[in-house]
């Protein structure tokens, strides 16, 4: 048994649950008398809903297949070797479950080496090798093809990427080294860094060809046939494959620099993966592949044993799995059908909600407000947005006609809501107003209708308390911008019944939102944590720490934006309002910053001016600030802020605001854009020892979002 085979055998013993991919070898004559060919099919034996992956036993199967074709090639029995996938799937890379269980550096190193040792054999056969990207290809799936002499891609490929950096890894089975050497550093940086950090953007077949990753592109209907005919032409020397010369000079360095700029703007140095990948791409300039592979092995092992990757996988699973099966949601069979939606209010938020319900549910949506002008404006907004979608080609004229016909506005709630199944209010954020609106709605709506509120900070139970049927009131808290942020906090009031809640979750799913069940607690999850976080930043500024020190203090977290820029986005007035609400609820932990109040009273919309292109403290704001004389260092600020956040989350979990820490993280990822490498926040707090320091215990057991003990 070869060393590679032994290595893989040992690794596979660590991972008994692997869904094993077979590597079938089949022989046939190529068209046009081009000779005998061996085609390897990667297939895990399941349909396309369970994509083919590479764990150690799978790699061992591929290794054995290569043993076979290597001999045939050496013996002159075949003229070429191809590799392709089962229907709709080429291969989607390493099996992440196999990565999660690793706890020894040596084993992590073996993962990288195992892949390299197998894949690189494809470049060393006595005959040319061909990868036929027939379907989805990601990570190691893309990389196995990069080791081949030639590649074709199907124009029907829906998703092609090297998503490792997105998760917290590097493309470490040859990707970082081979891709820049194939298509140049600039395009490689786009694929490996930019796309990964741009919400894991996927390439389509035609992009794969245009980037030069594939040498030819064929349509899905007869992709494999045409690829094999093309192969025959290449092997017979009828087709000369020319690849553009890549810039190995300054262009290479500029590409890497561009990559660093992108990484800085996305993760602010807080997560290592992108930088490790860029280091390898930079070094790949000399074309020394083995040196690159060794660097990939080391980077993979370091990252696998690091917290950012574990948090990244945890975050990925939260979004992909927990986000789709919300914890604590009642049985979906209890849900009632929603065939008409009412929206109370026709302001901007209400209109955005109307548009979302309309597009996703495709049922009649009726807006109401206090005067015709507002109603017309609301409907007009929805119509204008539909026209924009039409203009961009996102919907066709028929769909636009259908959607426009479905949205109406009326003044009379009785007329609008008499047959509505789901009515959501988005009126002024004041308890009295909302209670009045719900009472009016209840008087005219059918007995089964759900009454939902988009309140961000008021008590859902209190809002429902004066109704005849409070059991059908549900909190339905969206995040701005509604079309962009996936999170929907679904709030169960004290009297909310299971059927209403199930209906709310059913609607959320149709809206394609990530729903999290939340208890009726002040400001729910995201706003409570963000406000505590911001409040602590405000506190240290008020006490005397310079604004820039406070801002820089949290940079190592790699948040999407700095605290004060976030405050500007939310609006200082809204920020102030939420902090006042929470201060009322929890005066010992939530303060109301006098400086923030002053800024709001001065009518300022933010703390910064951008005249120089970079944010600089607005002199008018600076003049308003009244600071004390306690000046903290960045480390001290960071410790205070993180301690506050850890304390607040600990209290929220004790209060049962959500079922588990996982829900907190899911909320922060999908509602506040907090990064994968933090795993939301609790994996980071555990990793940095903050949880232990503040609460005396971790949020997540060792091994969850961290290297197992």
């Amino acid at each position: 048994m070869s060393t590679t085979a032994e290595l893989l055998k040992q690794a596979s013993e660590l991972f008994p649950d692997e869904v094993v991919t077979s590597a079938h070898v089949r022989h046939f004559d190529l068209p046009a008398g081009a000779g005998r060919f061996a085609l390897i099919t990667l297939d895990n034996g399941h349909d396309h809903t369970k994509p083919t992956t590479f764990g150690p036993a799978s790699l061992a199967n591929l290794n054995a297949a290569i043993d076979q074709v290597e001999k045939e090639a050496a013996d002159g029995e075949i003229v070429g070797v191809g590799i392709t996938g089962k229907p709709f799937i080429f291969a989607v890379g390493a099996d992440l479950k196999g990565v999660e269980i690793l706890k020894e550096y040596e084993h992590a190193l073996a993962i990288g080496k195992g892949g390299h040792e197998v894949f690189k054999r494809l470049s060393k056969l006595a005959v040319p090798t061909f990868a036929y990207y027939n379907g989805a290809a990601m990570g190691g799936g893309v990389e196995v093809g990069l080791h081949c002499t030639y590649r074709t891609v199907s124009s029907a490929v829906p998703a092609f990427s090297l998503p490792e950096v997105f998760l917290g890894l590097v493309p470490g089975w040859g990707g970082c080294t081979l891709l820049p050497n194939l298509i140049g550093a600039d395009k490689a940086v786009s694929v490996i860094i930019e796309n990964s950090l741009n919400q894991n953007k996927q390439l389509k077949g035609k992009h794969v060809y245009e980037l030069g990753i594939a040498d030819a592109i064929f349509e899905g209907a007869d992709f494999l046939e045409q690829s094999l005919i093309w192969t025959a032409s290449v092997l017979k020397g009828e087709l000369e494959i020319e690849r553009p010369v890549i810039d190995r000079g300054e262009g290479w360095d500029q590409a890497v620099a561009k990559g660093r700029f992108i990484a800085d703007s996305k993760v602010h140095g807080a997560a290592p993966a992108a930088y490790r990948a860029l280091d390898i791409i930079a070094a790949a300039k000399n074309g020394d592949l083995q040196q690159g592979y060794d660097a990939e092995d080391k980077a993979l092992a370091d990252l696998i044993m690091g917290g950012e990757l574990r948090a990244g996988i945890y975050a990925f699973n939260l979004v992909q799995k927990r986000g789709k099966r919300p914890a604590g949601a009642p049985d979906k069979s209890l849900a009632r059908p929603v065939t008409k939606v009412g929206v109370v209010g026709a302001g901007l938020m209400a209109s955005q909600l109307a548009l979302l319900f309309l597009r996703r549910l495709e049922v009649p949506v009726v807006l109401t407000d206090i005067d015709q002008e507002r109603v017309d404006k609301g409907v007009g907004y929805v119509h204008a947005e539909i026209d924009k979608l039409l203009g961009k080609g996102r919907i066709n004229q028929d769909k636009a006609n259908r959607l426009k016909a479905l949205v109406t506005g009326v003044l009379d709630k009785a007329e609008g809501f008499a047959d509505a199944d789901f009515i959501i209010e988005a009126v002024f954020e004041e308890m009295g107003v909302k209670q009045k609106v719900f009472a009016e709605v209840e008087a005219v709506a059918p007995a089964h209708a759900i009454l939902a509120t988009n309140t961000s900070s008021l008590s859902v139970s209190e809002m429902a308390s004066k109704l005849k049927h409070p059991e059908r009131v549900v909190g339905f808290h969206f995040f701005n911008p509604v079309a962009v942020l996936p999170l929907l906090e679904i709030v169960r009031g004290e009297q909310t019944d299971d059927a209403s809640l199930a209906t709310a979750f059913g609607v959320a799913k149709k809206l394609k939102k990530t729903a999290v069940l939340v208890k009726d607690a002040p400001a729910f999850v995201v706003n409570r944590i963000l406000t505590r976080f911001m409040g602590e930043i405000q506190n240290v500024i008020d006490e005397g720490t310079p604004v820039e020190v406070a801002e820089k203090a949290v940079e190592p977290l790699g948040l999407p934006m700095s605290p004060l820029v976030l405050l500007e986005l939310v609006g200082p007035a809204i920020g102030l309002h939420v902090s006042e609400t929470l201060n009322k609820a929890f005066p010992d932990r939530f303060t109301v910053s006098p400086n923030l109040k002053a800024v709001v009273e001065a009518g300022k919309r933010g703390f910064y001016v951008y005249d120089s292109g970079k944010p600089e403290l607005d002199p008018e704001v600076a003049a308003l600030l009244k600071q004390g004389d306690t000046v903290l260092t960045e480390e001290q600020v960071r410790e205070r802020v993180l301690d506050a956040v850890a304390q607040e989350i600990g209290i929220m979990l004790d209060e049962g605001v959500v079922a588990e820490a996982q829900d907190i993280d899911l909320c922060l990822i999908t509602g506040a854009g907090w990064p994968f490498h933090l795993g939301g926040i609790t994996p980071y707090l555990d990793r940095e020892g903050v949880s232990e320091r503040v609460n005396g215990k971790r949020f997540l057991a060792q091994g969850v979002a961290s290297v197992p003990a």
Binding site: R26, P31, L39, T41, G45, A221, D222, E225, L228
Partner: protein, 405 residues
């Protein structure tokens, strides 16, 4: 409105390699619609001068029009092949003469002026759709003795034909079958067949049938080159004890698809499309269902009469070899020798296979190639027998005909 009947031509034809039906067959895991889609796409690739938007019709035949052969396969195959949405399609069924009927039907529309160019073809995946799948014959057929029960079983009708023509012995049928295999092997060796085949990728997941994974089919699976008389003489006669019809002197159960381009001659010339054959006449005739193999004789009589030709004008014959006895009955009727070199020069369905509704276009594709090679021949015909007692014949003129030089 004045109307002129237009000349109709066979522009081009292609087919998939034919496979053996059943779990070990090459197409066992391949859909029927995919087979015909691949044939259509190859046809378009081979004729890049044809703007797909100009295609007026897609007529696809299948005998069992359910599952992947249902859903108006002419329409679905067009969409799956990537034809513009504006190109319509429909399905045709005349059992074995499906593709032949697709050709004559669109040809009629072309002659009438309704179409300029159309795709006509057929598909039969007898592995996925065994003969008789889902049939529900009216009980009156038997109770009122409208047909004999044997009419429903093609092999029995072939035995019946042997009864009618006692001079057609099992030996003659076997000798004919051996020659068909020999001619087919020779045609392969000379590259006459491969040029009109589209390679088909096939998946196999069950190791019992051979190597698993994706493969590529580039040749007909049913062929048995080297078949000897001795091989055939030992075969069972499954349709009758001490019968004459065997798996060796009949076509098998097969999977495959064909597609052809039929156009007005004017359109073909204007669009620089090849003109491989010119349609002269076509005819369908019903016969006693119990001896359906007799069908080609009256069908040919009628087609010849329409064209004002006699059998001696026909220089090349492509006769579907559903059964050797049916070809021999035809040859006997016209006094043509069993081994006449004008007949099935490349071999026939006994060697290549006969995926029912697809076969008609195979005959035409082979005749077209023979026309090209033999410009001294002016007329040829394609003929087939059809289940439930029918015959179908199309007479073609060779556009390469050089006159009596």
């Amino acid at each position: 409105m004045p109307r002129t009947v237009r000349d109709v031509v066979f522009v081009d034809g292609v087919r998939t390699p034919f496979g053996k039906a059943g779990p070990k067959g090459i197409y066992h895991e391949t859909r029927a619609d995919d087979l015909v889609v691949k044939a259509i796409r190859e046809l378009l690739r081979r004729n890049p001068g044809l703007d797909p938007k100009k295609i007026d019709e897609v007529a696809i035949a299948a005998t069992t029009q359910i599952g992947d052969q249902g859903l108006t396969i002419g329409r679905t195959a067009g969409i799956l092949a990537g034809l513009p949405q504006s190109v319509p399609g429909y399905s045709i069924d005349r059992m074995c003469a499906g593709a032949l009927t697709a050709v004559t039907t669109v040809a009629g529309s072309v002659a009438f002026g309704a179409y300029d160019v159309a795709i006509a073809g057929g598909v039969e995946h007898m592995g996925r759709h065994p003969m008789g799948e889902g049939v529900d014959p009216n009980p009156r057929f038997v109770s009122e003795k409208l047909v004999d029960e044997s009419a429903l079983f093609m092999g029995m009708t072939a035995e019946n034909l042997h009864d009618r023509y006692p001079q057609i012995t099992k030996l003659r049928a076997d000798e004919y079958a051996v020659r068909s295999q020999e001619k087919a092997a020779k045609a392969y060796a000379n590259g006459k067949i491969q040029a009109d085949l589209v390679p088909v990728s096939v998946r196999r997941t069950s190791p019992e049938a051979g190597e698993t994974g994706w493969g590529l089919v580039t040749a007909d699976e049913p062929m048995r080159p080297g078949t000897t008389l001795e091989n055939l003489q030992g075969l069972k006669t499954p349709f009758r004890v001490h019968g004459r019809v065997t798996a060796g002197n009949a076509a098998g159960l097969n999977d495959g698809a064909t597609a052809s381009l039929i156009a007005s001659e004017e359109f073909a010339r204007e669009n620089d499309l090849p003109v491989k054959m010119r349609l002269v006449s076509y005819s369908f005739v019903g016969v006693e269902p119990e001896v359906m193999g007799y069908g080609p004789i009256p069908a040919t009589e009628k087609a010849l009469a329409q064209a004002g030709l006699s059998i001696s004008d026909i220089g090349l014959f492509e006769i579907n070899e559903a059964f050797a006895v049916q070809v021999l009955a035809f040859l006997d009727h016209y006094g043509i020798a069993d081994d006449d070199e004008r007949v099935n020069q490349y071999g026939g369905a006994i060697a290549f296979g006969h995926p029912l509704a697809s076969s008609g276009v195979r005959l035409m594709t082979q005749l077209a190639r023979q026309f090209e090679e033999q410009p001294h021949v002016r007329y040829g015909l394609t003929t087939m027998c059809v289940g439930f007692g029918m015959g179908a014949t199309v007479i073609w003129e060779n556009p390469h005909f050089e006159g009596d030089k």
